[in-house]
């Protein structure tokens, strides 16, 4: 087999390749872990002053597609502040009117691309909180 024919230099190069790939993959894991932590910390810091209006304005209308976590108005938020903010900011926010046929989604990480990220219906931007959090409603809806 080729293994037996290979010179020590060839084996050395292959072992070096293997090590470098492992180091590269490890740095990827490490960076993603740091990014996860830094991402949430930054967002918590940025949004600390905006949490109250978020609680008021997003209220019932906001839930994450697939989770149906509807916040009841006036009820205490179920998780920590950091958790709530990270959920609102890092995940796509869905604003709905009445039923799922009118669901509209905004990509919170691309606030400058609002027009491009509108989903199934045209929408009006009700309020833009900055940093990607945008409250929208179907255009011409009964809101």
């Amino acid at each position: 087999m080729v293994d037996e024919q290979m010179t020590w230099l060839g084996k050395l190069i292959l072992l070096t390749i293997m090590s470098l790939v492992l180091v590269g993959k490890w740095s990827g894991v490490s960076a993603s872990r740091d990014g996860l932590k830094a991402g949430v910390d930054d967002i918590v810091a940025t949004y600390r002053n905006r949490l109250e209006p978020l609680k008021t304005d997003l209220k019932r209308e906001v839930f994450r597609l697939g989770y149906d976590q509807i916040e009841e108005p006036g009820q205490p938020l179920p998780k920590s502040e950091a958790w709530i903010i990270s959920q609102y900011v890092l995940a796509p926010i869905v604003v709905t009117q009445q039923d799922l046929d009118q669901v509209t989604l905004v990509d919170c990480l691309s606030p400058t691309q609002v027009e491009k990220t509108m989903s199934r219906t045209d929408v009006d931007v009700i309020k833009n909180y900055g940093q990607g959090v945008i409250l929208v409603a179907p255009k011409g809806g009964s809101r």
Partner: protein, 460 residues
């Protein structure tokens, strides 16, 4: 968990079908079946699911039940019919691992650890964006939600949303909807299972091919070099169709390469059949696969002509591609709106193609991609080729040329799509060029290491 089992059943069906149907003279049948099986299983079961959903508009539960029963039934039937062949295929690779050298085992362990680290990186990204990238939320997974919630069949779902790419094919959404439908929960990590299975399949394809030619050490190292592309962990978490598509593209290329190198007629036709199936499946995975389908058909025709069996070869290729193309055709004719790349054009093609600023912008992005993403993996690939040359390999035509034709045609079509896109070019390039590069990268690895190479002196 039951959703994972349902996907497992589909994969098992594919693996057993490959084990049973691969020609007996084919070496490493278990390895090939594990590499090809998930592709076959995921594609076949999604085609079946589509047909069932067409019949039972808005009734996903019994559709999922029938789909599951078919997967289990085919698996059991194949096991009973070809049990002997399957057990022979399993025993062969165990002895190969027992006799492997220590450096081969190190390479294998490194490969497995790398895959594990990609999984860990993916999981970290998944915690940040559990629903994946924009395309996952708005194109792939939202369609799976339509299926699960019983609205399939309404042309409305595919046509009302101008940015939702209603023309995109359905293999991925259907596979995700199976898991969500059976579980009764639209869990955001379920699509990662499909992505993970197809990534492993992608790696195994290249590892098995290289191992067959030159041994486990070479195979595992080539797999490692392919995984050195830094984006795998992150893009896996995006839950989009590019890694799955790259698995089908590589599978098509590998099957054509294998067909070109077969001496026996039975094996030649089997690999041609598989190449047809995988090429059509790549079109069923994503629209870019249509280009691959065309190239694969031309190459299959050429290979068959060289062997003096043009008609038989072409018919076999069509037999492989036919079932998937039929399903794709039904979807495109009955449900899909025209592609947004064609439908929303306001400027003439000639004007776009002859605009020098557009060429300049595309090349800027390519340059950035090469320096930022491709530089490191390409260096490792070059080092690998140097070792290959030192080990006195010579490159024969088939493997390298087939991969090269695919690369040129695919990148050429991507370039043309960028030139003529009706969308903002800067936005289009920025959101897709890195994903297209990942589709082509495994083909570059295949091309560079020349798997059809043969040693000048073989020691067995």
């Amino acid at each position: 968990m039951i959703g994972w089992i349902s996907t497992g059943c589909a994969v098992l069906m594919g693996v057993l079908l490959c084990l049973a149907l691969l020609p007996p003279m084919q070496r490493g049948r278990l390895g090939w079946s594990l590499a090809l099986g998930p592709l076959v299983g995921v594609s076949l079961s999604s085609c079946l699911l589509f047909l069932l959903m067409m019949v039972a508009d808005g009734q996903p539960l019994w559709v999922l039940l029938v789909d599951g029963l078919v997967s289990v039934g085919v698996s059991v039937g194949v096991g009973m019919r070809w049990g002997g062949r399957i057990s022979n295929g399993i025993s062969e690779p165990l002895s190969a691992v027992k006799t492997a050298s220590s450096i081969s085992l190190i390479a294998l362990v490194c490969l497995i650890v790398s895959l594990g680290m990609i999984g860990a990186e993916c999981w970290n990204h998944h915690r940040v964006r559990p629903d994946g990238w924009w395309d996952a939320v708005m194109i792939w997974n939202v369609r799976a939600k339509f299926f699960v919630r019983g609205t399939f069949g309404l042309a409305h779902d595919f046509q009302v949303d101008p940015m939702g790419h209603g023309d995109y094919p359905l293999m991925l959404p259907l596979s995700v909807s199976r898991m969500w439908g059976i579980e009764g929960i639209e869990h955001p990590s379920d699509p990662l299972v499909i992505q993970g299975i197809l990534l492993v399949s992608l790696v195994m394809l290249i590892v098995v091919l290289a191992t067959e030619r030159a041994g486990l050490m070479w195979g595992a190292t080539v797999g490692l070099v392919m995984l050195s592309w830094s984006a795998y962990g992150e893009q896996l978490s995006w839950q989009i169709a590019d890694i799955p598509l790259s698995a089908f593209l590589l599978g098509t290329c590998v099957a054509l390469t294998k067909a070109a190198s077969q001496r026996e007629k039975e094996a030649f036709l089997w690999w041609l059949l598989m190449s047809g199936f995988l090429a059509a499946s790549s079109a069923w995975m994503k629209n870019e696969g249509l280009v691959a389908m065309g190239i694969a058909a031309l190459i299959a025709g050429f290979i068959s002509w060289r062997r003096g069996m043009m008609a038989t070869g072409v018919i076999t290729f069509i037999k492989g591609a036919g079932p998937v193309l039929l399903v794709l055709g039904l979807f495109k004719l009955l449900y899909a709106p025209p592609s947004d790349l064609l439908a929303t054009r306001t400027v003439s093609m000639t004007e776009l193609i002859t605009d020098p600023t557009r060429h300049e912008m595309i090349w800027k992005f390519i340059e950035f991609l090469l320096w930022q993403k491709a530089c490191w993996p390409v260096c490792l690939l070059v080092a690998l080729v140097v070792v290959g040359v030192m080990t006195r390999w010579r490159i024969s035509v088939a493997g390298t040329v087939i991969a090269l034709v695919f690369i040129v045609a695919l990148t050429g079509s991507y370039y043309l799509a960028y030139l003529t896109t009706p969308h903002d070019l800067d936005w289009h390039l920025g959101t897709s060029i890195h994903r297209l590069a990942l589709q082509v990268w495994p083909l570059v690895v295949l091309c560079a290491v020349g798997f059809e190479s043969r040693q000048k002196t073989t020691v067995n």
